[in-house]
Each structure stands twice: as structure tokens, then as C-alpha cells.
Symmetry: C2
Subunit: 205 residues, 2 copies
DNA sequence: GTCTATACACCGATAGAC
DNA sequence: GTCTATCGGTGTATAGAC
């Protein structure tokens, strides 16, 4: 009624996810306890169970939220499918690197903690991850059909390019040698090399 | 049976490392308990402390053993430093991929469990990992000096190439689409693309 | 070299007061 | 919505018998 206790719930929920993300990214899912997360939020351990049925669901929700946001972000700025594959590849690489620099923690978790999901949860997350890989694979196929890309093996090139780009989140630091946009530009260049195509003029340095 | 009076310490030591490697690769360091490892070996948990002062040293020894073996294996078959950089790059890529397919578990652990090392142990392992990266970096520098490689940024190309190649161990399966030597050949091709050089004749398909 | 037994802290999760 | 208290179980690591 006159209580305002309901307003604190959503705020706490966000703090739980934020704290869990930070701690899991730093120490790993198995190494982080519910008590640690609760301490970080400033509540007791039992209170966490108002927001998640169990510990693993917390992990799954972080991963699913990340991958859904990744896919939605791409969908919101995806280039016209009728554009040349080279332009679409550049857009995809820029999107991927920028996103992985900006949201390194959730990217890291979604990549490293897959083995902590049970069978059903793994299948759901894996499906989302695959559909993201397919975006790149389709661009590479289009480029080969246009004759502008000359990769030998589309699936392997996709996996290699994703691995190469995602690796950025394992070493990127805000105070590193290169600013983010310089890193992105260099990765665009390397992606074109991998695909066997000539980089766009404005992507070259 | 009260005890295995005839059993050998060295044999048990090897079994402990083997079991720990398999379990940690599968479930992650933090998720594996000393009791689990002991059960796998067929001893009691307390007996493990005959072979390691604590749990983390078990992890560090697996990592250090892996990286030392990696560096020694390369040293044993490293090409003459006076050979052209292109030949040395091909040799390095073949070595790296073959090794990472053959010893996927230890490779996986050494890349995924770094955060479970304390400061001193991390520094020791990181030093070994760096010296491995420097092998590739030196080859790329030589190739640029020879004029056969045309990468824009040596350090970034090194990191990208290592990430691309090491990614193999995250998806490789014995019953996969391609046999190991076909995978290796395709990665040699992609490495030359990344370095901005022409592949050797015998590496092309 | 391996065992049994155990210390004792911490785990995930639940129950019920307020 | 958050608290305290608590359950049953497991964690790493050690002590001392044989």
C-alpha cells in the first residue's frame, strides 16, 4: 500500500546481474559463491533467490541476455543484404570488435563458461551462438559468389575469423597501446586478408 | 584391501596428473575437487598431497609442464634461423596446429585457467606463454624485413594469428568433417593470408 | 606410500520472522 | 523484500596409524 518496497526490487535485480557478471568474469562461475554475489550487492545470500531459481540460471540468463542483445544490436544496424559483401564484411567486423571491446565481461563469460551449463541450457545458448556465426558465414558465401572473396573453406574461415576477432577481449585494456578505433581498423584489414579480398579504400590506412 | 603395498609412487604421480588434466579440461579448475581427482586415481583425497603441496600447484604444474614441453618440442624441430621466413612460418603453423590438436586438453587448460593462478604462478606461466608468442613474432618481423610479408602491425598480427590457430582446440573433434592434415594445410594458407605473404607452392592446394 | 579419521570453513538452497 | 537461522553436504588440507 503505502510501502515503497516494490521499487527496490527491480533495482536489486539489476545489481545482482551486474555483480554476478563482474565476479564470474573475474573468477569463473564455479569459483564464485552466492554469498560473494550477495555481499557485493549488499543483501544476504537468501535474498538472491527472489531473483533466480538457482545459481546456474543466473549464468544462463547472463549468457542469453548477452547473446540476444548481440543479435538485436546487429539486426538494428545490419547493412542492406543487397549491398556488396565487402561492405557488409567491414560493417560486421567493426560491429564485432567494437561490441567485444565495450562488453568484454559478458563476451568473456559467454565464451568461457559454456561447460557449466547443463544439457538444455547449453543447447539454447549454443543455438544463439550459431546463429551469430551464420551472419558472418553468409557474408563470406555472398562474397565468394560475387567473386570478391577467395577463401578456400568457408566454414573454417568463419571459425578462424571469429576466433581471431574474439581474441581481442582476452587482451584488450583501456590503457593499452592502441585506441579502440585503431584496433578495429587493423582487424578490418586482417579480416579482408583472411577472406582473400581487397579491403575497401576507406578501411586501408 | 588396506593398501596397495606394491604400487609405485611415480606411477601414481602420473595418474594424478592425467586425471587432473582430464577433469579440469572438462569441468574447469574450480569445479573439480580433490576428492574427485582422488576417486579417479583410486586413492583417498589425502594421498594426493604426497604429490602436490596444494590444489593450485597441481594446476600450475600442468600448465608449466605443457608450456615447457611445447617450447622444447619447437626447439627440437625448429627450422634453421637462416631459412626464409616463409618456410619458417609454414613450419611454425604446422607445428602449432598439430600440437594443439594432439594435446587439446592441456592447451585448453593453459588458456582457460590462467585466472585461477595467484600472482607469482601467473607471472611464471605468462612468461613462458610470451616466449612462445615471440617465436612467431620474430618470424613475422624477419618476413617483413625480407619483403615477403606485408602485415600492418606485427604485434596485432601475432595475437590474431595465435588466437585464430588456438581456436582449433575449441572445436576440433576426431570424428569431424576434416582430417587433421587437411585442417593444418588450410590454416597454413590462412596464416600466410594474415601475414600478407604468398604461400609456398607446396602449401597451396 | 597409502590409509582412516577428522578439523573446520564454506557451499547452495530453504523456512519463517518481520 | 530482506533478514536470520539452519539444513545437509562438500571443500581443502592435516594428523597419525600401518
Amino acid at each position: 500500500m503505502a510501502r515503497k518496497s516494490g521499487s527496490s526490487g527491480e533495482k536489486t535485480r539489476a545489481m545482482v546481474e551486474e555483480a554476478a557478471t563482474r565476479l564470474i568474469a573475474r573468477h569463473g562461475f564455479a569459483a564464485v559463491s552466492m554469498r560473494q554475489i550477495a555481499r557485493e550487492v549488499g543483501v544476504q545470500a537468501g535474498a538472491l533467490y527472489l531473483y533466480t531459481p538457482d545459481k546456474q540460471s543466473l549464468l544462463k540468463d547472463i549468457m542469453r541476455g548477452h547473446l540476444q542483445h548481440l543479435l538485436e544490436s546487429w539486426a538494428a544496424q545490419a547493412p542492406d543484404p543487397d549491398l556488396p559483401a565487402a561492405a557488409r564484411l567491414e560493417r560486421f567486423v567493426r560491429f564485432h570488435i567494437d561490441y567485444h571491446i565495450l562488453r568484454a565481461e559478458k563476451v568473456f563469460i559467454s565464451y568461457m563458461e559454456l561447460r557449466n551449463l547443463d544439457c538444455d541450457n547449453f543447447a539454447e545458448i549454443e543455438r544463439l551462438r550459431r546463429s551469430y556465426e551464420h551472419i558472418l558465414e553468409e557474408i563470406l558465401i555472398s562474397g565468394a559468389a560475387e567473386g570478391v572473396f577467395h577463401h578456400t573453406d568457408t566454414r573454417l574461415t568463419t571459425l578462424a575469423m571469429i576466433a581471431m576477432m574474439t581474441g581481442v577481449s582476452t587482451w584488450y585494456r583501456d590503457d593499452g597501446r592502441l585506441p579502440p578505433d585503431a584496433i578495429t581498423t587493423r582487424y578490418v584489414d586482417m579480416a579482408f586478408r583472411l577472406a582473400g579480398g581487397e579491403p575497401l579504400a576507406e578501411a586501408a590506412e
